[in-house]
Amino acid sequence: MSEQPGMALGEYPTTLPSPQLLRDVAVLRPNDLHHALTLLDEAQRAGQALRPMAGCTDLLVEAHFGKPMPAQVLDLWALRHSLGTLQWTERGLRIGALATYRTALQDPRFCAELPALAKAASLVGATQIQARGTFAGNVENASPAADAAPMLMALDASVELTSLRGVRELPLHSYYLGYRRTVRMPDEIITSLLIPADRLGHPGQWLRKVGTRAYQAITKVGLAGVFSWQDGLLQDVSLVAVSMAATPLRCFAMEGYLRHKSLSDLDPIGLRQAQARDLTPIDDVRSTADYRAEVFARLVEQALRETAAT
C-alpha cells in the first residue's frame, strides 16, 4: 500500500492502466551487491535512469494509478538473502536494505528493544504489505506520511549509502531534501539503516499514528519520539512529525523548548508557539491544517505525560 497520487473520483480510469504500463519495463537482476552497484554505475554513465526496487509495494501501486513507469528497474529483491538481515553489533542495530517489516516483527529482540519501531512496522498497511515492504524502501520512498521512517528518525538512525565510489553514512533527519526528494545519488543504493546502541531498549520510545482506520490507513497526523527523563526533567528529546510537512520532519524548535523542563513547567501556549516554528501543516484530502496542528500538539502532550510516568 502506498500513498496514492491524488486523483478525483471522476478521474478513475475505467480500464486499469497497470498491465500496459508494466509491459515494457525491463528488470535488471543483479547477482550480488557489487553487481548491482556496477549496473547503477553503467546506467548513470550511459545517461539512463535505473530505479532500484525492493518489495514493490509502492512501485506497483504507482502503476495502478497510471503513473509513468521507468524504462528499467534494478531488482534488489534478488539480494534479500544477503542484505535482508538484522545485525546486532556494538554500534547498534543494522537493518539490512532488504529487511521487511515481517523480518523485524518476527524477531523477539527487535520487538523488545525497539517497541515503538515494531509498532510502526505493524501499522504499515496490513499483514500482506508487511511481508513485502522494507524499512529502506519506506525511507527512500520519502512519503511525508511514512510509517517507519519517522520512528527511525526519532531513534537517531543513519542511512548507509553505497556506490562504486564508496560508502557514506548520514543522519536520517538530513536525508530528505523536500517532497519526495532525497540526497541519494543515482548510482547509490541504501545498503542499511543503523540505529545507535544507546537507543536500543530506551524506555522513552513513543509513537502514535492518527488515521481513519487502524490498518490500511495513511496517517493524517502522527508523532514519533524518544524521551529521556531524569529526576522529573526531560533531559533529552527527539520529536518527529508525520504528515505535518513535506517530509517526515525532526522538530528542533520544539525539542529546544522542551529540553530541561518538567511536566509542571509545560505551557500549552509556549509549546504551540514552538511547534509553529517547526511545522506548517496543510489542508489536503486526508485532513486540515488546523486539525493537524491541534492534534499534533496534543500528541506531544500525551507522549510527555506517558513517558514521564514510566
Partner: protein
C-alpha cells in the same frame, strides 16, 4: 531458477522484455514466459488458470488476491512475475489436501464465513497462514482481527469469519479487550489512553505479551479509529 543468461531481463519479443520464470505452485512445477513486471495475480489467473485469487482493488488494500509466497501472505497484485521465479506459491486452490478441506475452509463452511465470496479466497489464505502457525494455541480475538485486517469484507461484518478462525485454531480464544473494556472506539492493543480502562481490561484478560503477538507475525498496534469498528 531464472533463465537469465545475463543481468538483463531476458529475450525480447517484439521489443517487449520477457523473462522465463519457474515456480512451485501448490506443489506443482509451473513455467511461464512473461513480461518481468507482469503482476503475479495476472500470471496466476491468465497464464496458469488459477482464478481463485481475485482482483478487488489492484493496489494492495483489499487482500482478495492474497496468496502465500514462500510461506508469507502477500498481495499478488503487488508482486512482479520476476519475484515468483524460484518461489513456492500457495493459492486458495492448494489449501485443501487431496480433497480434504483445510481446517479454515471447513470452519468457514460451518460458520457461514462467506456471503458474496469475493474476499473469501484471500481471507482463507491469510487465515490458513495464521492457523498453520498457531494451531492449538489460544490466539486473542484482537490478534486474529489484526492479522486479517488486510482482507476486506463488505458483506459479513467479520463476526462469522473471526469465529471460523477461532474454531479452526482449535483452542478457546480470548475476547477482544476493546469490547471487554466497553471503552468505545479506541482502546486496543498498545494504547494506554485511559489507565483505568486498560487496568480493567487486564483484570479480565490473560496477559498476552507483545512477543507472543509478534510471534504470530503480527504485533501490538493501537487504533485511532475516529468512527469505531475494530476492522477497517
Amino acid at each position: 531458477m531464472a533463465t537469465q543468461e545475463n543481468s538483463a531481463s531476458g529475450p525480447q519479443a517484439g521489443g517487449h522484455p520477457r523473462v522465463s520464470i519457474a515456480s512451485t505452485v501448490n506443489g506443482e512445477q509451473r513455467h511461464a514466459v512473461v513480461a518481468p513486471m507482469r503482476r503475479l495475480l495476472d500470471v496466476l489467473r491468465e497464464d496458469w488458470g488459477l482464478t481463485g485469487a481475485k482482483e478487488g482493488c489492484g493496489e494492495g488494500e483489499c487482500g482478495a488476491c492474497t496468496v502465500l509466497l514462500d510461506g508469507q501472505p502477500v498481495n499478488s497484485c503487488l508482486v512482479p512475475a520476476v519475484h515468483a521465479d524460484g518461489a513456492e506459491i500457495r493459492t486458495i486452490e492448494g489449501l485443501a489436501d487431496h480433497g480434504a478441506l483445510h481446517a479454515v475452509q471447513a470452519a468457514f463452511l460451518a460458520h457461514g464465513g462467506a456471503q458474496c465470496g469475493i474476499c473469501t479466497p484471500g481471507m482463507a489464505v491469510t487465515a490458513a497462514w495464521l492457523v498453520d502457525a498457531n494451531a492449538g494455541k489460544p490466539v486473542p480475538e484482537a490478534a486474529i482481527r489484526q492479522c486479517l485486517a488486510g482482507n476486506l469484507c463488505r458483506c459479513t461484518g467479520y463476526g462469522q469469519i473471526v469465529q471460523a478462525v477461532v474454531d479452526a485454531l482449535g483452542a478457546p480464544s480470548t475476547p477482544n479487550p476493546k469490547f471487554v473494556a466497553g471503552s468505545g472506539t479506541d482502546a486496543v492493543w498498545g494504547t494506554e489512553k485511559d489507565p483505568a480502562v486498560v487496568a480493567k481490561a487486564r483484570e479480565q484478560e490473560p496477559v498476552v505479551t507483545r512477543i507472543e503477538l509478534t510471534a504470530l507475525g503480527t504485533s501490538t498496534a493501537d487504533s485511532d479509529n475516529a468512527s469505531g469498528g475494530g476492522q477497517p
